[in-house]
């Protein structure tokens, strides 16, 4: 076994020298006690000989008294010893365990229990480089597996080890393993997790934990420990642009003025040009000071003290950034918040926000939606309760320099503090700065909508097709677009399904999300009209109010509402995508016509009765209408 081997007297110095270069990997284990998580961690500690004789003696006696493994050691007891503390009312967020092998030192974040799971997992994941997700081979991918994976991806962990445990209870079956690994891979890709290594294990029996097992000769991949030892420790941070939040100003005397901090991204060299944010002043690095003397360079993860060539005003809370690639600055942000407070998060209430080394006042300007961590659905909400996650708009009382959390955890993560009781009540991830609209002015441009459309020999407009799912909107829109294109017109087709794969990927099907879905599409259509295009929009768009909004965004005569009118029974009979069947079976929620309303247009420009009209005839009617309205030339000839 490749673990701490006792060196002889002669080579202890050699051994120490080798140890000095050992890397550190931090990981989190996700799963419940039932998945064998405690047994897994206990076994890693045991097998890496992290335990001492007196601890083993205690384990042996505990195993006999409380264990579930007969006369054998119950490894779960090594990490489950917190029951008594729970009774005393001590909350356990995260327990940290340590073990080492010849190659690496490991810090394991273990989040026990089911209560407070979101808060605890988010805390543990915030410092982890990798996640080990446990699955019980008998049960496969469960709701909780999805929840754990979502939280892991939310916190920016990209590397996953999928430990498919209890293989001994499924006769070490390869098909069982392969099926679970495939199911998981499909789900994980949807939430952006792609770096996944699946390993069949039995924590109880020790199969594929440290050593390859003879019980699964069909598996040729690494064991769990081998994978933990060889996975690259995050190096992306060093490749990022330089970032360092200023922690403390070091001024021992009039001569020395240094700025201390931990480098949160990239590297810094003497002579590099840096910018002080949010103010924006610039200077060059004069010295990089450490106890071991000055250095020419320092990298992400190091705590250093920098001095600069110019006497510029820098204080705690400023962010030092590469002048070539400075961080963004904003006062209003799109962010995701995980609520950890006993009292709910309220929009409008003021909190303190700490990001990097800067603390500012902040309030939640808007709660866009909360996210069901089990289904990933978006739900309209007015407040966030303990352990809930929401997408919010934050407004600060002064500017903050930041990076998107996806790019840098240290410059994109923040905590929220209750101003009255000083508790940490929330944690969050900044996505982007949003500009309050009152500060935005329309650019007046010389080239306008009319000139762009004239160049294309057409009038710009929106053809908005609305109707039930399966009514035939997309088929008709396609035919119209093909004919327009064939005659040299410039068009674009916005299709409901396609837009949901990209621009509106973050939206679900609740009322709030549907409204936002349409608002965005209407805005995109407006920009395209401004570009001089004929825009076809094929969306269910069930609500009158949103269709009216879309109409209001473009000029008079530029909006054609086309009602593709089908009886629900007909649409359901057709059911080209099988969605009605799913909705009736309860597998799809908020489905228009079934458990979500459709409000038919009161006076559409064009109404197409699909019971009496073929798609081709419908397309011809629309073209004819456009010609009559002067959108396209009257002398336009249909080219089949």
């Amino acid at each position: 076994m490749d673990v701490q081997v006792t060196p002889t007297a002669v080579d202890v110095e050699v051994w120490l020298e080798a140890q000095a270069h050992k890397e550190l990997l931090r990981f989190i284990t996700c799963g419940s006690v039932d998945d064998g998580k405690s047994t897994l961690i206990g076994r890693l500690l045991y097998e890496s000989r992290t335990l001492f004789d007196d601890q083993l003696a205690t384990l042996a006696s505990d195993s006999r008294r409380d264990g579930s493994q007969g006369d054998e050691l119950d490894f779960a007891l090594l990490v489950d010893g917190l029951a008594a503390e729970r009774e005393q009312g001590i909350t356990i967020d995260v327990a940290y365990r340590f073990f080492a092998t010849e190659r690496r030192k490991f810090i394991v974040a273990d989040t026990p229990g089911h209560e407070q799971y979101t808060r605890n997992m988010v805390t543990g994941a915030s410092t982890a480089d990798l996640a080990v997700i446990l699955i019980d081979a008998r049960k496969g991918v469960l709701t909780q597996t999805r929840r754990h994976s979502y939280l892991v991806s939310l916190l920016g962990i990209r590397r996953i080890v999928l430990a498919i445990n209890k293989m001994d209870l499924v006769d070490y079956s390869e098909p069982v393993f392969t099926q679970i690994a495939r199911d998981y891979g499909e789900f994980a890709a949807q939430i952006g997790l792609v770096d996944i290594v699946a390993i069949p294990v039995s924590a109880l029996r020790g199969d594929n934990i440290i050593e390859p097992t003879a019980n699964m000769p069909w598996y040729r991949g690494p064991t769990l420990l081998q994978q933990l030892e060889r996975v690259p420790v995050e190096q992306q941070l060093s490749a990022q642009p330089f970032r360092m939040p200023v922690q403390w100003v070091n001024r021992p005397d009039a001569q020395f003025r240094g700025f201390a901090g931990l480098i949160a991204g990239g590297s810094v060299n003497v002579g590099d040009r840096i910018r002080v944010l949010p103010a924006g002043l610039a200077s060059r690095v004069a010295r990089i000071v450490t106890t071991e003397g000055d250095r020419p360079q320092a990298i992400a993860g190091q705590s250093v003290t920098l001095t600069f060539e110019d006497e510029i005003d820098i204080s705690r809370g400023d962010l030092l950034a590469s002048a070539e690639a400075p961080a963004s600055v904003g006062e209003q942000f799109d962010a995701t918040v995980v609520w950890m407070g006993g009292e709910p998060m309220l929009t409008g209430r003021e909190y303190l926000l700490k990001s990097g080394t800067r603390t500012v006042r902040a309030h939640i300007a808007r709660l866009q939606h909360k996210i069901n961590v089990n289904t990933l659905e978006h739900i309209a909400a007015r407040q966030l309760e303990l352990n809930e996650i929401g997408r919010v708009q934050l407004r600060l009382d002064q500017p903050l320099a930041f990076d998107a959390y996806a790019d840098n955890r240290d410059t994109g993560g923040f905590i929220l503090i209750d101003r009255l009781n000083n508790n940490t009540v929330g944690a969050g991830m900044l996505h982007a700065a949003v500009s309050p609209t009152e500060n935005l002015h329309w650019q007046v441009l010389d080239v306008d909508k009319g000139s762009r459309a004239a160049q294309k020999n057409q009038k710009a407009c929106v053809l908005w097709l609305t109707g039930l799912s399966g009514a035939g909107k997309s088929t008709i829109a396609n035919l119209v677009e093909k004919q327009l294109l064939a005659s040299g017109r410039h068009t674009y087709l916005l299709d409901g399904d396609n837009v949901r794969h990209g621009l509106n990927r973050d939206l679900g099907f609740t009322e709030v999300d549907r409204i936002e879905n349409i608002r965005r599409v209407a805005e995109v259509a407006r920009l395209m009209v401004d570009a001089g295009l004929i825009v076809l929009v094929s969306f269910i768009s069930p609500y009158r109010a949103e269709r009216a909004l879309a109409r209001s965004l473009v000029g008079a005569g530029e909006f054609f509402e086309i009602f593709v009118d089908t009886a629900l029974a007909d649409a359901e009979k057709r059911d080209p995508k099988g969605l009605y069947r799913k909705a009736r079976a309860g597998q799809l929620r908020d489905f228009t016509g079934i458990d979500s309303p459709y409000e038919p247009p009161e006076s559409p420009e064009i109404r197409i009765d699909t019971a009496r009209t073929t798609a081709e005839a419908a397309a011809a009617r629309i073209i004819a209408h456009l010609r009559a309205a002067g959108v396209i030339d009257r002398d336009w000839v249909f080219i089949p």
Binding site: S238, N250, S303, G413
Partner: protein
Amino acid sequence: MSKLSHLERLESESIHILREVVAECERPVLLYSIGKDSSVLLHLAIKAFQPARLPFPLLHVDTTWKFREMVAFRDQTARRLGLELIVHVNPDGVARGINPFVHGAALHTDIMKTQGLRQALDLHGFDAAFGGARRDEEKSRAKERVFSMRSSQHRWDPKRQRPELWRLYNTRKAPGESLRVFPLSNWTELDIWQYIHQQQIPIVPLYFARERLVLERDGALIMVDDERMPIAPGEQPRLRKVRFRTLGCYPLTGAMPSEADTLPGIIEEMLASRTSERQGRIIDFDVAGSMEKKKREGYF
């Protein structure tokens, strides 16, 4: 230089924590217990703030029963580094003649250490105190925060402990409340020894094996450090080559037979040894779950 080693990452994290406290708290102090963890903590603190001087004093809560070599090392360290050292002894305890041999380990520790610490913190108005505790020391410490909130009575309230994400520590507190801060939380015993070796950090000579006068009592080797040690009839102190793996009050600290008189020797023995360091610390064995209990009462 493209990758950081585990010791470099631990060092950097500890320095970050030390600086964060100095930047955000009014009056921090370093609880200096003279042991190897304190030596590492002090070394990191000096690194964190240089070339400036250490921006806080050291506080040693002296129970009057520390090894003489510890006290000598303490005074010499403060002198050598030009540090401000505050030594506090609980005057009530002294007046009542508290003695671990007479009153037992639990009462002695409570009065001389726990009460003494509270007195000193109140007397000087310290609002944040650094300690050298590590999460790997004991199973129940695995869940400890780096920043631990204490009430104005120095009580640890389980409900008021804060989640710690990324490198963001919430140091805000009401008047009278204080913080205990543990910059070495993520270090293991082996990390400590490796770092001492790598950085050549001075430690108390008691850690190195030498011929010392010891008594075997209740299975532990207790050093006869001064004339206050009562020797029962039939007990015979003997010179044995021993060292200490952890240091505290001499009547409460067991020695181990050892030949290791160099740092590599200690590390070698440690790698081969199969007992945890807390076994030599007698206060842990008084009551089941005793650490939890002491902490709630304000012990570090």
